[in-house]
Symmetry: C2
């Protein structure tokens, strides 16, 4: 007798998983290692930026009041009493018709309130003393970057849960974050199952294939922002299997197995969940590929039983495991980003269940266009290599025609969706 | 006297840099470390996939000829003579009206040419011997995945220069690439210049700011696929500066300096290039920010003199250094990816030079929409944190109105453009 399983809808299944969301931990890492990590606290301005009034150009700092009468027909001359580069501060008291030669980024001298750009000043010398003259007037504040103009002390500049990009690295340095508070990478345990699996270095043998799921999932885990702990292939023996899983759970935040969750004669995972006393949230989802995806919950840990078919395994990870990982990384939008796209080609296959088609999303004249990235069979690894998205084709249809507007889920994006279902 | 420099157009400047493209090297890395690297050879199928005829379902393998007479009113019975899971091979000789119980992924038994899905077979037992019967006929090949169906031995599956994603990891494993040929990461030397620069851990001082460019560029280098070698801040002394740069060049593939390239009184880079005997390709580009970006060539190495202003520095790296790095990584599309987008807001500022506006690209109803990510001044770090793109506003205009179609360059994308100018 084949076990009858009742499929649940994808959104319902994801909701069940998310209801067991686990709280992530945080840690401090050196700014040199923080690129690509997720902020675990808001990034707050620890000072004004700039923190002093400064010159945005190479030129001459003046008291604007002295320039009031300057015009094309009436140049006004200033005595240049000091000369400072960025990083230096003039300690001269600037008097009437005096100026300081100042370089980009240097602090404005006391009393000065405007900067004349170098190319608008005519320089000269009298008895070894430099002078410059100008032919227009300046208002207070002309060509001055004021303290706090870019950011005010105490302002929240970047929200927690944001992935650190090069611009954020610059901000962290600006505000003195030598140590950066980031989400600790969740540790994701991984087992492969399957008597048919050879290692990557093994010669092919009749009936056996190399284990590709493990390498694929390890990369998916890394892309999601977590860290993998790979325990190897589960032994064929049920008791050993059970013990391996039971002890692995202790060492990880989440546990993923690939294969062994179907209703086949050698699919032991359901029995293992039972013996562990785990609460099986679902063991059949109304989707293709990946309908056998099984998720269970045990003592605050979530066990993901992904299909052994590469594409089903891939989809199962992205739909169910990624959002839990991203939630642990504080992301407010933990799910794959959903957008609309134009279907580029006919997709004549009927869809009794919601179908996730591995697809290549391109942009034509500013519009998203999606096409399947390969033959759509769940055991075909090839279509995954070119996939940067899934086209979602809702169930209960007889196929789709080119130019239909479809929903797509983006795989290489780091924005995410709050809830795409 | 202010030195007069003649600006060249951005495309012309990039072309000059690219004419000095340097050949990248390659190395073999373990498949466990290859995720995110760039293939240095085409990925070729080393075997057929599958490499044997296999069952895509749990079911019974039969000789289709025996099912010819089966119908609803005439069930045909088969003796089940063997039982195999994935990874096992049946060595039974299958005769007339005999079947093998077979699990998903297992190799088809000799003589069998069709699979009956488990749920379509009625199982029974007679004297301890299992039987099954079916009520429809099967054609040769029904429910069989044939050898070579997914990939043929010798086929090129992924081109060199492609960034390795999780799907490609799966393929590498499938084809036994325990060691993966990837482009060696170019080593990018980096110096900061500027008397005003404090370290990230320093307290703020009057007139001084923390060095943000270094941390930003290190992340940009990493994002581009290269590796940084940071030499610290250049000393204030010209001779020491010169010697530091001269010796650093020996150790790296490209050398980047930030700051010191303008025409200010403390900008030493131009003199250093002169003393090194480097061929200055350009020292002024008709763009904002980053017009002072200077690139020089010396003995097969390229020296990038980026502006000290954070935004100018950021743009200079992405436009000029990134494509050289990606070329060394074998990418056929080494430049930032260019797409069309709708400008979301007015941009009233006049553009004497081509302007690269740090911007946030979003998608609305499947269409790209771009808006500036912050105040557009070249010294404003804040706008970089939210930037995932640059809006390109061509020079010689009086500003742009909302809803105009503009070109954008994507920063977080790994596709790239062959030539976006």
């Amino acid at each position: 007798m084949v076990e009858k399983r009742t499929p649940i809808q994808v959104g319902e299944a994801v909701k069940k998983v998310m209801s067991h969301s686990i709280c992530g931990k945080q840690e401090l890492v050196s700014i040199n290692e923080s690129y690509g990590r997720f902020l675990s606290e808001d990034l707050v301005a620890t000072s004004d930026v700039p923190h002093f009034n400064r010159s945005p150009y190479d030129g001459f700092a003046i008291r604007s009041v002295d320039s009031a009468e300057a015009s094309l027909s009436n140049p006004v001359e200033f005595e240049v009493v000091d000369h400072i580069g960025a990083g230096y501060v003039s300690n001269k008291e600037i008097g009437e018709f005096q100026a300081v030669r100042i370089m980009t980024g240097a602090q404005m001298p006391m009393n000065c309130d405007a900067v004349v750009m170098l190319e608008l000043a005519k320089t000269s010398e009298k008895n070894g003393q430099p002078y410059m003259s100008i032919k227009r007037s300046y208002k207070p504040g002309d060509n001055v970057s004021f303290a706090g103009e870019d950011a005010k002390k105490g302002e929240v500049l970047v929200k927690r849960g944001t992935k650190i990009n090069p611009g954020i690295q610059a901000m962290l340095a600006t505000f003195g974050y030598k140590e950066v508070p980031v989400a600790k990478k969740p540790i994701i345990g991984l087992f492969a199952t399957g008597t048919e699996l050879l290692e990557v270095e093994d010669e092919l043998q009749p009936g056996k294939i190399r284990n590709s799921n493990t390498h694929m999932i390890i990369a998916q885990i890394e892309r999601s922002g977590a860290e993998v702990k790979y325990f190897g292939k589960l032994p064929d023996d049920f008791e050993l299997c059970y013990e391996s899983i039971e002890s692995a759970i202790e060492e990880v935040d989440l546990l993923i197995t690939t294969g062994g969750v179907s209703v086949g004669d050698f699919d032991y995972l359901p029995q293992i969940y039972k013996k562990l006393g785990a609460d099986v949230l679902f063991n059949k989802v109304a989707m293709r590929p990946g309908s056998v995806t099984t998720v269970a919950h045990l003592d605050g840990k979530i066990l993901f039983g992904l299909s052994g078919n590469p594409s089903a395994c891939y989809v199962g990870f992205e739909l169910f495991a990624r959002p839990i990982i991203r939630t642990m990384l504080n992301c407010p939008k933990p799910h794959l980003r959903r957008e609309k796209a134009v279907l580029e080609v006919d997709f004549p296959k009927a869809n009794p269940f919601t179908r996730f088609v591995r697809s290549k999303l391109t942009i034509t004249d500013g519009k998203l266009v999606a096409a399947p990235s390969g033959v759509d069979k769940s055991n075909i690894v090839m279509s995954l290599a070119g996939a940067n998205s899934f086209i979602i084709l809702p169930g209960g249809t007889r196929g789709y025609e080119a130019h239909t507007i479809v929903d797509v889920l983006l795989l290489e994006d780091h924005e995410g969706s709050e809830w795409p279902w």
